[in-house]
């Protein structure tokens, strides 16, 4: 039984997911399809301006949840309450009004931004879809690029000239152009080196403070998220097996999976301390 914990005052979660389920087609003939459940009865809440980390091993269903919450996929069952409105089964047309409010940052910035674009074109893409004219787009682009600690002078540089960490920041700037209320980060830190991860994590903390952003961070790296999140939900085989505040989860893990994730993170830490001290 997953015990859900509110991360804000009762009755005011900004993003609430109830009973979310999603199956995928795994094969079989047309008269006898085989399904694989990727997410089963997912329940969690995030208060306004707070961060929830969704952790688990590869294949546990974390990305599926992320894609359902941002409605890149339609869930088979359940509700997704975004600021009081259920977006789980909205039609495409209604969804178009809701989309600016919830944005996603993907794992590999190298493949999620068109390398042939200039930084300005990459950032302005959502605005172009909304139909804003070019001077409006430019002024918004200049504003958001400064928010991600990059210089507006670089707006005309090609995306290829930016490093991995910088491209991830461009992706964040692109997400900010629609003034979202919720950011979902799907393994956004994987593959970046530690100092870049730190920069981006700090950037998110600052943005969260400035805009009261509600964040859902998906990662397999427990060490990173425990420093960024107010609450943690652990997933295994499509279900949430344990949830709680970060402090609670770190100090007193109950489920096997949580303990397993924590222990491998702790092993890394003890290696660092122990091996460093051992004689060469």
């Amino acid at each position: 039984m997953a015990n859900s914990v509110r991360t804000s005052e009762p009755n005011h979660p900004f993003l609430r997911v109830q009973g979310l389920s999603k199956r995928y087609l795994a094969g079989g003939r047309w008269h006898r399809r085989v399904h694989m459940a990727a997410a089963i009865e997912i329940d969690f809440e995030i208060g306004k301006g707070k961060t929830l980390a969704l952790v688990g091993a590869s294949g546990s269903g974390k990305s599926t949840v992320a894609r359902c919450v941002t409605r890149l996929e339609r869930p088979d069952a359940g509700q997704i309450w975004l600021d009081g409105r259920d977006i789980a089964q909205l039609s495409r047309r209604d969804l178009a009004l809701v989309r600016p409010g919830i944005q996603m940052i993907f794992q590999d910035a190298v493949t999620s931004i068109n390398p042939r674009f200039s930084a300005a074109e990459a950032i302005e893409e959502p605005l172009r879809i909304q139909g804003k004219n070019s001077s409006e787009r430019r002024s918004i682009a200049e504003k958001v690029i400064q928010e991600v600690a990059l210089s507006p002078a670089w707006l005309d540089r090609s995306v290829m000239q930016f490093s991995g960490g910088q491209r991830q920041r461009l992706a964040i700037a692109r997400a900010l152009t629609t003034q979202p209320k919720v950011l979902v980060l799907d393994e956004a830190f994987t593959g970046l080196d530690l100092s870049t991860q730190a920069q981006i994590a700090n950037l998110l903390l600052d943005l969260q403070a400035a805009h009261a952003l509600t964040c859902l961070v998906i990662s397999h790296d427990l060490t990173l998220v425990t420093n960024m999140a107010d609450a943690v939900a652990v997933m295994s085989h499509g279900r949430i097996v344990e949830q709680g505040s970060t402090r609670q989860i770190v100090r007193d893990p109950k489920h096997e999976e949580t303990k397993k994730l924590l222990s491998s993170a702790k092993t890394a830490e003890s290696q660092l301390a122990r091996r460093a001290g051992a004689s060469a």
């Binding site: 995928y24 795994a26 094969g27 694989m36």
Partner: protein
């Protein structure tokens, strides 16, 4: 094995579907074989009506289709009104000539294009590579008809080849003369075919080899000290084969239908002129027969390509469709 069975069944269903569509479309097209005759005041309407019922053109569509299928089973494939003979032997006689042309063209095309494509990819940016890119863009955008006529004009203007009406006939002509004669006649149409097809195939082969050359596993092979030639032939080409195999399938598919215009222009006695004539005169079953032959090669060629892909790419063979 199951894959093979499924594909065969699909192929047969496809051919059946094409035959039905053929009938429907020709039914919808205006005119019939006897329109010209009808205009002739010396021919009475009764004669025409007789002729029509003799060829079964007054029966409903479904009955006609049923009769045609029966005729197909007897390997006649209907009756040509103009030639007053069963369709199949007529078609086959001409088809042999067409296949001679296209098979030679295909062989030469692939013999030239494969090495050329690989060579150009390995020497990307070289002057010859750039020259080829420009030339091939040019050739690909000009319609085949225009190129054919242009080459024909050149040949005529400078009298490069003897052009006479038909193949030599008669007793006592040696095989050698016969072959020589054939070769001279084939030279122009084959050249046109090879010219046009190579431009496309070389571009695709080059692009596919180039893409594989940039992959990490090729760079890894170099980093392990394997020499360039071996990397190219043993590592790159097998990985770059899939698009080429698909194209090969297209080439096979077009063995019957790919040269129709060229035959008409160069006066080669193949299927082209026959079908053209049949279409213009509304010789119904001959037209349908020609289309079905073409369709047979299309479907067969794609089938062979699918099988070759199955053999070449282990990912298809082992059903590697991840549930990611």
């Amino acid at each position: 094995m199951r894959y093979l069975g499924r594909t065969l069944v699909r192929a047969i269903l496809l051919l059946a579907g094409i035959s039905i569509l053929c009938f429907l479309f020709t039914e919808m097209a205006p005119g019939s074989f006897f329109d010209e005759l009808r205009l002739n005041p010396q021919v009475s309407p009764e004669t025409i009506a007789n002729l029509r019922s003799r060829y079964g053109l007054d029966q409903p569509l479904v009955v006609r289709y049923g009769r045609w299928v029966k005729s197909a089973a007897r390997a006649d494939f209907g009756y040509s009104i103009a030639y007053n003979a069963p369709v199949a032997p007529l078609l086959w006689g001409r088809a042999k000539n067409t296949l001679l042309l296209t098979a030679t063209g295909m062989l030469l095309t692939w013999l030239i294009s494969l090495p050329l494509g690989v060579w150009l990819a390995a020497r990307r940016g070289h002057m010859l590579d750039q020259a080829f890119s420009i030339a091939s863009s040019f050739v690909v955008s000009i319609p085949e008809v225009v190129i054919a006529v242009a080459l024909l004009a050149i040949v005529v203007r400078w009298r490069l080849l003897p052009l006479s009406a038909g193949p030599l006939h008669g007793e006592g002509i040696s095989l050698r003369t016969h072959v020589q004669d054939l070769a001279t006649r084939m030279l122009l149409p084959v050249t046109i075919l090879v010219f046009v097809e190579s431009a496309i195939i070389v571009r695709h082969v080059r692009a596919s080899v180039l893409e594989v050359l940039g992959t990490p596993f090729v760079q890894a092979a170099h980093s392990f000290g394997i020499c360039r030639a071996r990397v190219l032939f043993r590592h790159v080409l097998p990985a770059a084969a899939s698009p080429a195999i698909s194209l090969f399938g297209f080439s096979l598919a077009g063995l019957v239908s790919g040269s129709l215009l060229i035959e008409v222009i160069c006066g080669w006695p193949g299927l082209g002129p026959l079908i053209l004539e049949a279409t213009l005169s509304r010789d119904l079953y001959l037209v349908i027969g020609g289309i079905m032959l073409s369709a047979l090669f299309m479907v067969g060629g794609n089938l062979i390509a699918d099988l070759m892909l199955l053999a070449a790419d282990p990912r298809i063979r082992t059903g590697a469709l991840d549930a990611h």
